[in-house]
C-alpha cells in the first residue's frame, strides 16, 4: 500500500527549527560521515528524506533522532547547506511534542512566548505559594534554619518528593507513548519481554556515561554534556535525599563537597553553553531555538541562586538567604515542572530510551530474519 506524501509537514517542522532541510539533494554525504550511522539505523539522510516527503508516521516511529548527538560533522560536510544536524535536532523537538499527550510541549515548541509565560507564571505561583505558606506556618524571614525557619528544609523536602512524584507520572506516560509509537505499534516487530530485559543494561549505561557521544570526532561537546549531566544528577540526589543535611548550618564536608562540585559543574557548563550559543562557536550552537535559551537561563539562575543562598546563610545574612532561596525555588519549580516533562530536558529520558529501544528493535529484527532463514543483516556491506 502506497504511503501518501504530505508536502505540508516540512512547513510544520520549520517551526521546530528544520529550516533548510528542503535543500538536501541526497548525495548521502551526511550519513557517510556520521560516526553513528550504521545499518539498520542510517541517518541523517533517511529521516531527512522522510521529512521532505512528509511521511509523518515513519518519523513518529523512528528512533534515529535519538541516536544523533549533534556533533555537527554532517552539517559541516553538507554540500548544499541542508543542515542535517539541525534537522535531527528539530526532529527531536518535534518528537518530544508528539510523545507528550498533554500537548503542552507542542505549545512550548511552537511558541517560545507561551513557554516563557508558563515559566514566569509558574515562578510567580511558586513564590506566592511559598511566601504564604511560610507566613502561615509562622516562619521568620530572619531565620534560615532552626525552629522558626522561614522555609524549613524538612517541609521543602516533602514538597520536593511530591513534585518529583508528579513529574515521574508525567514523564512515564510520555515515555510509554514513545514506546508505543516506536515499538509497540509496529505489528511486524515481535520483541519478547526477555529481549527487553536482556538489553535493559543499555538504559543506565547510556544515561550515566553518554558513552556513544564520545564516538564523535569532536570530544568537547561530549565532555561538556557529561559534566552537566553528572552535576545535575549529583544535585538531584543531594536534594532528594540530603536536603536537610545540606541546608543545616553545620557543614558536613562528605556531602557539601559534592554540592560544591556539582554547582561548579552546572555553572561552568551552562556559561560555556551560553557563550557558545551567543558566539555560535559550534554547529551545535549555530541555531538556537527559544526553548534552548529559556532552559539555559533557568539553569544558570537556579545554579547561581543555589550557591548564593548557601553563601549568604553561611555569612549569617539569613533574611537575604531566604529571599534568594525563594528566587531559587522560582527557578527550580518551573525547570522541573515544565522543562523536564515537556521541553528540552525530557531528552534526559528519551535519548537513553531511544538507544535502548534501538538495540531491542535491531536484535528482534535480526532474530526474525534469522528465523526467516535469510542472510544475517551485516552492519557493514563489503562492495564487490
Amino acid at each position: 500500500m502506497a504511503i501518501r506524501v504530505n508536502p505540508k509537514l516540512i512547513d510544520e517542522l520549520a517551526v521546530y527549527g528544520a529550516e533548510d532541510v528542503q535543500n538536501c539533494y541526497h548525495c548521502g554525504n551526511c550519513s557517510a560521515v556520521c560516526p553513528f550511522s550504521k545499518e539498520p539505523y542510517i541517518f541523517p539522510r533517511r529521516p531527512m528524506r522522510n521529512l521532505q516527503m512528509g511521511l509523518e508516521d515513519k518519523l513518529k516511529g523512528s528512533l534515529e533522532p535519538w541516536l544523533c548527538y549533534y556533533c555537527g560533522e554532517c552539517t559541516e560536510e553538507c554540500p548544499r547547506g541542508a543542515e542535517p544536524g539541525e534537522t535531527m535536532m528539530s526532529l527531536r523537538r518535534w518528537l518530544t511534542a508528539k510523545y507528550d499527550f498533554s500537548g503542552i510541549s507542542r505549545l512550548f515548541y511552537r511558541s517560545g512566548k507561551i513557554e516563557l509565560l508558563a515559566v514566569i507564571g509558574a515562578a510567580l505561583l511558586t513564590a506566592l505559594g511559598f511566601v504564604l505558606w511560610a507566613v502561615w506556618q509562622g516562619g521568620s524571614i530572619h531565620s534560615y534554619d532552626g525552629p522558626n525557619a522561614f522555609l524549613p528544609a524538612g517541609s521543602i523536602h516533602i514538597f520536593d518528593w511530591v513534585l518529583a512524584g508528579v513529574l515521574l507520572v508525567l514523564l512515564l506516560t510520555n515515555c510509554t507513548r514513545m514506546w508505543w509509537f516506536t515499538m509497540g505499534r509496529d505489528k511486524t516487530l515481535n520483541a519478547s519481554v526477555g529481549l527487553y530485559l536482556k538489553k535493559l543494561y543499555a538504559l543506565p549505561l547510556h544515561f550515566m556515561t553518554q558513552k556513544r557521544y564520545a564516538k564523535c570526532e569532536k570530544k568537547r561537546p561530549w565532555a561538556v554534556h557529561l559534566v552537566l549531566m553528572l552535576s545535575y544528577l549529583i544535585m538531584l540526589v543531594l536534594i532528594m535525599f540530603f536536603l536537610v543535611e545540606m541546608s543545616a548550618s553545620t557543614i558536613d564536608w562528605r556531602l557539601h563537597v559534592f554540592g560544591y562540585i556539582a554547582t561548579v559543574g552546572l555553572l561552568g557548563t551552562t556559561i560555556f553553553a551560553l557563550r557558545g550559543r551567543i558566539k555560535k562557536s559550534e554547529p551545535l550552537y549555530a541555531h538556537s531555538h527559544e526553548t534552548d535559551w529559556i532552559f539555559l537561563i533557568l539553569l544558570i539562575v537556579v545554579a547561581f541562586t543555589g550557591i548564593l543562598q548557601h553563601i549568604l546563610h553561611r555569612a549569617g545574612l539569613d533574611a537575604a538567604a531566604n529571599v534568594v532561596y525563594i528566587i531559587h525555588l522560582m527557578g527550580v519549580v518551573p525547570m522541573l515542572a515544565l522543562e523536564v516533562p515537556f521541553s528540552k530536558w525530557s531528552h534526559l529520558a528519551y535519548r537513553p530510551l531511544g538507544m535502548y529501544f534501538s538495540l531491542v528493535r535491531a536484535e528482534a529484527k535480526r532474530r526474525a530474519s534469522e528465523e526467516a532463514a535469510q542472510p544475517v543483516m551485516v552492519t557493514q556491506r563489503v562492495v564487490g
Binding site: G28, S31, I42, G81, T379, R381, V383, G384
Partner: protein, 601 residues
C-alpha cells in the same frame, strides 16, 4: 500605454553597483510610466493584491526590473489576467541578462527604458560597425583554438595562434579515448594538430603568452611574450640526443605528474611543433647561472639548442581576438577526506587518462603504485611501475569539487560521461576487476550518451547512487565510506584504486586575461558571453569572442561547435571588412534614443 514599473531584488549580487533609487526616479520620468514601486528583496507577492494595484492604476503594461525579474513574471501575468488587463503586456527588464553587472546604473536604466518602450534590449542596444583588420589572434590552442584557427585559416585569412605550453593540443591530446564513441582522442585530434602545424595561414606561437592588449574593436594591438624555448623549432629533428644527455628530471606536465621528464624534453611524441623545449626552472645550467652542465647544447647534432636565448616580445595587429583558454581541473588536495596526495592510489581523472593512454607512462596498463627504494635518497617512495600489480577493485567518485557549496557549486558537465568511460576502460583492460561508480545524478544528456551509460552498466560496472564521503587507509588497505542510497545500505569497502572525477575550473590567469581584454567573468570565474541564449560566443567588447570551456564547462562536440561559431563571428567581420563595435561603449542616451525610434515604427 499606462505602464507600471516594479523593481524586485532577487538572488545574485548583480545589483551591486546599481543605484536603484536613481533607476526608480529615471523610470518615473519615462513616458507613460504611471507608477514605480520597489518591492524589495525576494518579495512574497500576492496576485490578488497586485491585480488590485493594477486596477487602481488602470495599468496596461507592467515592467518588472531587477537582476532576475523572470522569477516574478508569472505572478504579474496572473495579476494582469485577474485585473482584466492584457497578460501579454508584462515585460522584463533583466539587469543580469543584459549586462547590468559591471555596466552599472546607466546600463540598468537603459534596460528599463527598452522594457517600458516595449523594445527588446538587444535590438536597441545593437552597436554600430567599425573597420576591422583581417588578422585574428586566437589565445589557447586546445581543440577549441585549433578548430577556430583551422576554420578561419581555411578561408584564407591570417591567424595568430598563441599557446602557453610547448605543444598545441590542450587537454584533449592527453586523453586516451573520447566518449561516447570511444574513438581514440589522438586519432581524431592529431590530424588537426598536423594541419595547424602545416597551415600557411596560421602563425603558431607556442610557449608564448599574451602580455598586453591595446586598441579598439577591429583594431587591436597585442604584445606576445615568446618565452625562451632554447631550441630552434625549425632545425630540431626531434632526435632525442639532448634529452638523453640531460641530467635533470622534473614531473611531466603532459603526464600530469605521474611520470618524470628531463629538463630538456618533448611533451609527447606527436607534439606540434615536433620540437624539444628547455625548462629553465628545473635546468641545472640555469640553476648554476651557466656554470655547470649545458650538455644538451654540446650534444645536439644540429646545434639548435641555444642556451643564451632570451624571451622575445612580438607585436601583432589584429581585428578580432578569440579566447579559447579552456580550463584547469579542480585541485583535489583541497578535499582532505579523499586523501589525494596522501594515499598513493587515489588518482585524479587526468592522471588516470595518462595511465590508461597507450602512449602514457605505463603503456596503457592500469596499475597500482608500488613501494620502491629511491637509489639516491635511500628512502622508500611510491612509484608507478608499468609492471606493477593491477587493482582488483576500482572506485570512481563523481562530483569531486563540483556541485558542492563548499567547493564549486556548479556542475562540471563532462565528469559523469568521462567517469563512465573510465569504467569501460577498466572493464576492458581488467575484466576481473570490480568497478564502482559513485554518483549523485547521472548526467548523460548528449547524443548517444544515455545509450553509452546503459552499455557501461551492462558491462558489469556497479553504478551506485550516493557520493562517497571519505577515503581512508585501514592497515594498508584503502577503504571508501559512503551511503548506497537506492539499496539503503552503508558502504565501507576496500578498494585498490580510487579515481576522483575532478571538476573543471577556469584556467589559471583568467582574471588577468579578462581585465586585459575588458570583458566580464561570472560569479564562478568563467568568461561572460554577451547573452546566455542568443549570443553564447560574443562578448560585451566588440571583436572579442569566447569559445569552448573558458566560457563554461563543455564537452568536445559542444566546444567544437562553439569554435566554429566563433569562426563565423570572425569571418563575417573579416569578409565585410567591418565588425561590430563594443556594446559596452553604448551610452544610456544612445540606447534610449534607438529604443524610442524603434518603438515608433
Amino acid at each position: 500605454m499606462r505602464t507600471g514599473v516594479f523593481i524586485v531584488q532577487g538572488w545574485e549580487a548583480v545589483q551591486e553597483g546599481i543605484n536603484l533609487h536613481s533607476v526608480e526616479s529615471y523610470a518615473a520620468n519615462l513616458p507613460s510610466v504611471e507608477r514605480v514601486r520597489n518591492l524589495g528583496v525576494r518579495p512574497k507577492l500576492d496576485p490578488a493584491a497586485l491585480s488590485e494595484e493594477i486596477k487602481k492604476g488602470a495599468l496596461e503594461r507592467i515592467v518588472i526590473a531587477g537582476d532576475s525579474p523572470g522569477f516574478f513574471k508569472p505572478v504579474f501575468t496572473r495579476a494582469m489576467a485577474l485585473a482584466g488587463a492584457d497578460p501579454d503586456e508584462v515585460r522584463l527588464a533583466s539587469f543580469r541578462e543584459h549586462g547590468g553587472s559591471g555596466m552599472g546604473t546607466p546600463r540598468a536604466e537603459s534596460i528599463v527604458a527598452c522594457a517600458v518602450l516595449g523594445v527588446p534590449f538587444p535590438l536597441a542596444a545593437r552597436p554600430g560597425t567599425t573597420a576591422t583588420r583581417p588578422g585574428t589572434l586566437i589565445i589557447g590552442a586546445g581543440v577549441s583554438g585549433i578548430q577556430a584557427a583551422l576554420e578561419i585559416a581555411d578561408a584564407g585569412k591570417q591567424v595568430y595562434l598563441v599557446e602557453r605550453r610547448a605543444t598545441i593540443g590542450g587537454h584533449m591530446a592527453m586523453f586516451d579515448k573520447t566518449f561516447p564513441t570511444l574513438d581514440c582522442a589522438a586519432c581524431i585530434l592529431t590530424p588537426k594538430m598536423v594541419a595547424v602545424g602545416q597551415h600557411e595561414m596560421i602563425e603558431l606561437m607556442t610557449y608564448s603568452e599574451v602580455e598586453d592588449v591595446s586598441g579598439s574593436p577591429g583594431n587591436y594591438t597585442v604584445r606576445v611574450r615568446k618565452k625562451a624555448r632554447h631550441v630552434d623549432i625549425e632545425s630540431c629533428v626531434a632526435c632525442n640526443a639532448c634529452t638523453e644527455s640531460c641530467p635533470r628530471k622534473a614531473p611531466s606536465e603532459f603526464d600530469n605528474g605521474i611520470a618524470l621528464r628531463k629538463s630538456i624534453y618533448i611533451p609527447f611524441p606527436q607534439a606540434v611543433p615536433n620540437a624539444y623545449v628547455l625548462d629553465e626552472a628545473s635546468c641545472l645550467y640555469f640553476e648554476t647561472n651557466g656554470e655547470k652542465c649545458g650538455v644538451c647544447a654540446k650534444k645536439c647534432p644540429k646545434q639548435c639548442v641555444d642556451l643564451a636565448q632570451k624571451d622575445e616580445i612580438v607585436e601583432v595587429e589584429v581585428g578580432n581576438i578569440v579566447l579559447a583558454t579552456g580550463y584547469d581541473v579542480y585541485d583535489a588536495t583541497k578535499i582532505e577526506r579523499y586523501g589525494y596526495g596522501v594515499l598513493p592510489n587515489v588518482l585524479t581523472a587526468l592522471e588516470f587518462e595518462r595511465m590508461t593512454n597507450a602512449s602514457g607512462p605505463t603503456g596503457g596498463r592500469i596499475v597500482t603504485k608500488t613501494r620502491k627504494q629511491n637509489k639516491r635518497t635511500k628512502e622508500d617512495e611510491w612509484v608507478l611501475d608499468p609492471d606493477g600489480p593491477p587493482p582488483k577493485s576500482v572506485a570512481i567518485i563523481h562530483c569531486v569539487g563540483s556541485r558542492d557549496a563548499q567547493h564549486n557549486a556548479y556542475c562540471s558537465r563532462v565528469c559523469c560521461m568521462y567517469s563512465l568511460k573510465f569504467a569501460h576502460l577498466v572493464k576492458e583492460k581488467l575484466p576481473d576487476a570490480t568497478c564502482h561508480e559513485f554518483y549523485i545524478d547521472m548526467r548523460a544528456f548528449g547524443k548517444g550518451y544515455e545509450e553509452f551509460a546503459e552499455r557501461i552498466e551492462a558491462e558489469g560496472t556497479f553504478v551506485v547512487r550516493g557520493r562517497t564521503a571519505q577515503i581512508t587507509e585501514v592497515d594498508g588497505q584503502m577503504v571508501i565510506k559512503g551511503e548506497d542510497i537506492v539499496s539503503d545500505s552503508m558502504i565501507d569497502s576496500p578498494v585498490d584504486m580510487a579515481i576522483l572525477a575532478v571538476g573543471l575550473v577556469p584556467a589559471e590567469g583568467s582574471e588577468r586575461m579578462a581585465q586585459m581584454l575588458g570583458i566580464g567573468r561570472d560569479s564562478d570565474g568563467w568568461f561572460s558571453e554577451l547573452d546566455y541564449n542568443s549570443d553564447p560566443t560574443d562578448t560585451e567588447r566588440g571583436g572579442i569572442f569566447v569559445a569552448g570551456a573558458c566560457q563554461a564547462p563543455k564537452d568536445i562536440p559542444d566546444t567544437v561547435a562553439q569554435a566554429s561559431a566563433v569562426a563565423a563571428g570572425v569571418l563575417k567581420s573579416v569578409n565585410t571588412g567591418r565588425g561590430l563595435d563594443s556594446r559596452a561603449e553604448l551610452s544610456l542616451s544612445d540606447i534610449e534614443a534607438r529604443a524610442r525610434s524603434l518603438a515608433r515604427t
